[in-house]
Subunit: 273 residues, 2 copies
């Protein structure tokens, strides 16, 4: 089982219902061990005020979501690089364990996914230079291949680790079971990653059927992902961070009373192996 | 470019509009080089009558879609194995270049994807025993990871080739750009496959945005897949089969006049590199 204090609430899970202050209060009310805000929630609160709220709460901060989007303007423009520096600063301001990176998909009008991957790798290198100065770990998140075109062209754990190996220290993985559960190489790549590269672990579930490519994630236990098995694999390598719950759910969880959502998360955490 | 006579019509592309006889006539009218029927269309026509129609047309037959579904009953039941023998027989009856295999996802209620993959591999081995007797090549189709749960737990070209290597001769790949375009290992795995394992090549496109996980495929040129690059890679290994066009499109192509659809396919073929 996972106790509530081993869980972290990714604010996306209740993004329609709660602002950052409400998320912090909700986490405390339900005994969560941590929080992982999205930048829009943090910026809405004001970064300084949001950081104060979070630090004062005593909650762990399993990550800040999200930097990246290196291909958004088709090349590494100053605006893209500057936004990622700001993301590093924001992650440091809230005391995040890492800055999670959703790297961006194909540039508009492009069919060159190899080229997109080169832009992304160079962008990560540039952000990493700064993140190392600040001491903020960069957590590269491989996204499900169904997002290769429009969200992230890093799509497997092995590919993400190849990039980490190319870039050296200070960068590792944010592994979300939703993105990686299907991968025949997953367990081998988790072993390859080892403790040093395992920076964040996100949980939710894959529903059958899945009715939307983005906004139909399931609550743990409602789908087909072997969460226990994947968790055991990351913990076997020494990962001891929080289990971060990140659920985008237009038609279900975003429509519910958020206190009910957090209660059910705690129940489902308790039901894990 | 691809001439019309290098193209094959997968009947799924006009499945709502045309029966098998109409598909055959349409292929002839538009100068297609071949056809690839789905089993439901073939069975609707009657296998013997459908086979007569196809053989009389002189069209090439790039494949029969589809055998597989080994996990449909949770284990390799006699019914599942028998249906696959029938599929082999049907493929032979129509003179298909191969029998395409969509292997099935997780058994109902299961989260054991490794177990599903073992069932599938054993099922393929059983069908292959029979297919070798008949001389019908088995074309294992890796499906996009978004179908791992409910359609096919073979999800990358590398994984499919690992299974082929385990099973030996008489089995290879049906590569559909829709399923594999995102894979960072794709080109390397195509090289690994070589001519002998490259049995079928399917084309369509990945739309941005994609509005449905199954029924929103795009026409070549309307999406982001580097079809030319992938085709060049398979042809560099010696593949000289037809380019099979398979588009599931609930809201667009299935709603159009099928003669218009075939005309546009021929135009888009001509626009390939």
């Amino acid at each position: 089982m996972a106790e509530a204090n081993q869980l972290s609430l990714n604010t996306a899970t209740v993004s329609r219902q709660w602002n950052l202050a409400q998320c912090v209060e909700g986490c405390l009310r339900h005994g969560f061990g941590g929080i992982s805000p999205w930048r829009d929630k943090l910026q809405e609160a004001g970064v300084a005020e949001g950081a104060r709220l979070i630090r004062q709460s005593g909650l762990g901060v399993s990550g800040l979501c999200r930097g990246g989007w290196y291909t958004a303007e088709g090349a590494l423009t100053p605006a893209v690089l500057e936004d990622n520096r700001r993301a590093v600063d924001e992650a440091a301001a809230i005391g995040a364990a890492c800055l999670v990176m959703v790297v961006g998909g194909l540039p508009k009008g492009s069919r060159d996914i190899d080229g997109a991957r080169e832009i992304v790798t160079e962008g990560l290198a540039r952000t990493l230079d700064y993140a190392r100065e600040v001491g903020m770990p960069i957590a590269l998140e491989p996204l499900h291949p169904m997002y290769a075109a429009d969200r992230a062209c890093v799509n497997t754990t092995g590919q993400a680790l190849d990039i980490c190996d190319r870039l050296g220290e200070g960068i590792g993985l944010a592994l979300d079971v939703y993105h990686v559960w299907w991968d025949p190489e997953l367990k081998a790549q988790i072993a390859r990653a080892g403790r040093e590269r395992l920076l964040a672990f996100h949980i939710c579930d894959w529903l059958v059927p899945t009715r939307d490519l983005v906004l139909d994630r399931g609550m743990m236990g409602d789908g087909v992902i072997d969460i226990d098995g994947i968790r055991a694999a990351v913990e076997a390598r020494g990962f001891d961070g929080l289990l971060e719950v990140e659920i985008f759910s237009d038609a279900n969880w975003w429509e519910r009373d958020p206190d009910e959502v957090l209660s059910i998360i705690v129940e489902r955490g308790a039901a894990l192996a």
